[in-house]
């Protein structure tokens, strides 16, 4: 059971790092250097702040759902 909790925490740390990277990293701290690059009509940093980070958030939650589905079965704690 300790192992289950540890793996859960591991998933959380990885996913939350991505969460922080796209929003606080690409959308705020590095927004100005990223704006030097363009994607169509979007400056890249601006795109991350107003679009990209939100797409990534949605994906992160679904990924966590699927990872935990597997983990719950593996350690036989599912419902």
């Amino acid at each position: 059971m300790k192992e289950y909790w540890k793996q859960n925490l591991g998933y959380m740390i990885i996913l939350l790092s991505i969460w922080a990277l796209v929003s606080y990293g690409c959308g705020i701290i590095f927004v100005e250097p990223l704006n030097a690059f363009r994607m169509g009509g979007f400056p890249l940093g601006f795109w991350f702040a107003q679009q990209g980070s939100i797409y990534v958030f949605v994906i992160l939650i679904y990924v966590y759902y699927l990872l935990m589905l597997r983990l719950d079965r593996k350690y036989d704690v599912d419902e």
Binding site: L15, S23, I29, G40, F46, Q50, I54, Y65
Partner: protein, 591 residues
């Protein structure tokens, strides 16, 4: 049929649907009343959460704010979506496993203390009241413009509708009306967005459209965002896509505000409570995903709407004579949300950076030389002559783009759906805090099911009246009031919930100290800077972003105080172990 006729049809139809749902989902027990019987499917809960979540601020104000602020508007976009990642990973599954009715329930049990329960319930009521105040102003705006009834009458109509479905069906009635309200509000937001995107850029997906080129007019062939940057530079505003810089928020403030909104989202009781309604831990994780997906559909469209609205507005008004101004200009001037002061007496509307005059417009009642409504405000030193309330950008956008009357009416129905769905979710939190946490858990443990249900319904009535009062006497503009609720949510609940699950050593004394310190500091700062005219004294952080610091303070207090107080009893540590594993969640119970 004109705009008004269509509006009566759309609003009448949607209200009819809400009432029908209310009748079909009326409840007889407290479990139905507080957690909708605990059997809401994840997809439906996702929609209900999205409607619960997306308020008048999201629907009416947000695109308007982005439209005026450009890049900086991203604090709302990231802040109000990123919190769901925290909810899904850190809170929702565990609180569902714990399986009680309310947030103060968890706090009271986990921290083995009725004082902690009481502090939590005061925080819950306080946060929800602040938040509900913002919603009713949205209802008022929609009614006054589109139904041309008195704002007060409009607010009362809205309140009666909410009382019917929340009073009859409690959480169950609210959940299923919110599903319907989500459908109304998302359709109402997307149809004009798509139509305007096609008009300006020829691309049917607004998310791509606002990064595309303009297809006609003087700016044809140029990227829309480049054109907006150019307009900004020409008229004395900042570039639309540029971050920070002079006249703008600092990077630290943008960071603090985004964090404060994210953490506040995860700590808002009316959002957390939605995860008590699903049948299992797995369903709680999945419905967080659905919720954010449904929210993201609106939140990724809003910045596109913002840029289209800005482009359209400047093009249709700036440097035009008052006589040339389109009809929507006069319509919104009538409601007092647009005003024009012809400073250089040339009869032409000049839209520039800076405020046109001091304060909100106060109309003299007379008409000026060009037929405009005269105002008595002192002119400012800028060359700008136009006052535009941010809140109208979404509501006026279809009119600005010249879309048909039924689309404009649909937007009105959508705005009402957004405001009413959020208001009803908040009212349930207020009602359940008093009737369940205060009356049943703290005052009368022997209350019968029937009397508890009756108290719940009476409290919904009280909450409706309070919300109605705020609708008639609105404070500030919508998103600003709402932003404050987040600071309070961030600095009160989030830290004690997270540590309650992830740190067994967190003690009762720590939790109480943390909540009191967090919300005390945040409130002090907000009251000082918003109402007493004190400067932003803490590292130049705005009152909207201070919840982040309040949260850090809360974390620090819990950890510090917990380490010097005796460890929680053994059964509490077992309880924490228990919530960490999904099996055996069962239905929510109330004792």
């Amino acid at each position: 049929m004109g705009i008004q006729g269509w509006t009566y049809v759309m609003v009448g139809l949607t209200f009819g649907v809400y009432i029908t749902i209310a009748w079909l989902s009326r409840v007889k027990d407290t479990k139905g009343f507080y957690v909708a019987g605990g059997g809401v499917p994840p997809l439906a809960n996702g929609m209900a959460t999205a409607a619960d979540w997306m308020s008048a601020a999201s629907f009416i104000s947000m695109a308007g704010i982005i439209s005026f602020q450009g890049y900086t508007g991203a604090v709302y976009l990231m802040g109000w979506t990123g919190g769901y990642v925290l909810l899904a990973l850190l809170l929702a599954p565990y609180l569902r496993k714990f399986g009680k009715f309310t947030v103060p329930d968890f706090v009271g049990d986990r921290y083995y203390s009725n004082i902690a329960r009481l502090v939590a319930l005061i925080c819950a009521i306080f946060v929800s009241l602040t938040y509900v105040a913002g919603q009713m102003r949205g209802v008022g705006i929609v009614f006054s413009r589109f139904l041309e009834v008195d704002v007060n009458t409009g607010v009362v109509i809205g309140m009666v509708i909410v009382f019917i479905y929340a009073g009859l069906g409690g959480m169950k009635g609210i959940t299923w009306t919110q599903v319907a309200q989500y459908c109304v509000l998302i359709v109402a937001f997307l149809i004009p967005a798509v139509a305007i995107s096609v008009k300006i850029t020829g691309v049917a997906i607004p998310q791509i459209g606002f990064g595309s080129t303009i297809i006609s007019g003087p700016d044809a062939g140029k990227y829309l965002l480049d054109t907006l940057n150019q307009i900004g530079t020409d008229l004395g505003f900042r570039e639309y896509t540029s971050a920070f810089g002079p006249g703008n928020r600092s990077m630290l403030d943008v960071f603090a505000m985004t964090m404060s909104l994210m953490v506040g989202t995860a700590g808002l009781p009316h959002v957390i409570i939605r995860f008590y309604t699903v049948p299992s831990v797995r369903a709680a994780r999945l419905s967080a995903g659905y919720a954010l997906l449904f929210i993201a559909i609106l939140y990724t469209t809003a910045p596109a709407v913002a840029s289209f609205a800005r482009y359209n507005m400047v093009n249709t008004i700036n440097e035009k004579t008052y006589a040339e101004a389109p009809t929507w200009f006069n319509n919104w001037e009538t409601t007092g949300l647009i005003a024009w002061l012809d400073k250089n007496n040339d009869g032409i509307i000049q839209y520039r950076a800076g405020a046109a005059f001091v304060g909100k417009p106060s109309f003299t009642g007379a008409l000026g030389t060009h037929g405009e409504r005269s105002i008595s405000n002192a002119p400012s030193s800028s060359t700008n002559e136009l006052y535009v309330d941010r809140d109208i950008m979404v509501l006026a956008n279809p009119e600005i783009a010249g879309l048909p009357a039924w689309v404009i009416a649909l937007v009105a129905a959508g705005g009402l759906a957004a405001a009413l769905s959020t208001a009803s979710g908040l009212m349930l939190v207020i009602a359940s805090s008093i009737s369940h946490d205060l009356y049943y858990r703290l005052i009368n443990r022997n209350a019968s099911e029937k009397s508890r249900l009756a108290v719940g319904r009476v409290m919904i009535g009280v909450a409706v009246c309070v919300a109605g009062y705020f609708g008639i006497n609105p404070p500030g503009f919508v998103a600003q009031v709402v932003a404050l609720a987040f600071g309070l949510g961030a600095s009160s609940f989030f830290p004690i919930l997270v540590l309650g699950i992830f740190w067994k050593r967190a003690t009762r004394e720590g939790a109480i100290a943390g909540m009191v310190a967090g919300i005390g500091f945040t409130m002090l700062y907000i009251i000082q800077t918003k109402f007493l005219g004190v400067g932003w004294w803490f590292m130049d952080i705005s009152p909207e972003g201070i919840g982040f610091i309040g949260m850090l303070l809360n974390f620090a207090m819990i950890i510090g105080v917990s380490l010097v107080t005796p460890a929680p009893p053994k059964e509490i540590q077992e309880l924490v172990d228990n919530v960490r594993f999904p099996r055996g969640a069962g239905m929510a119970v109330d004792h």
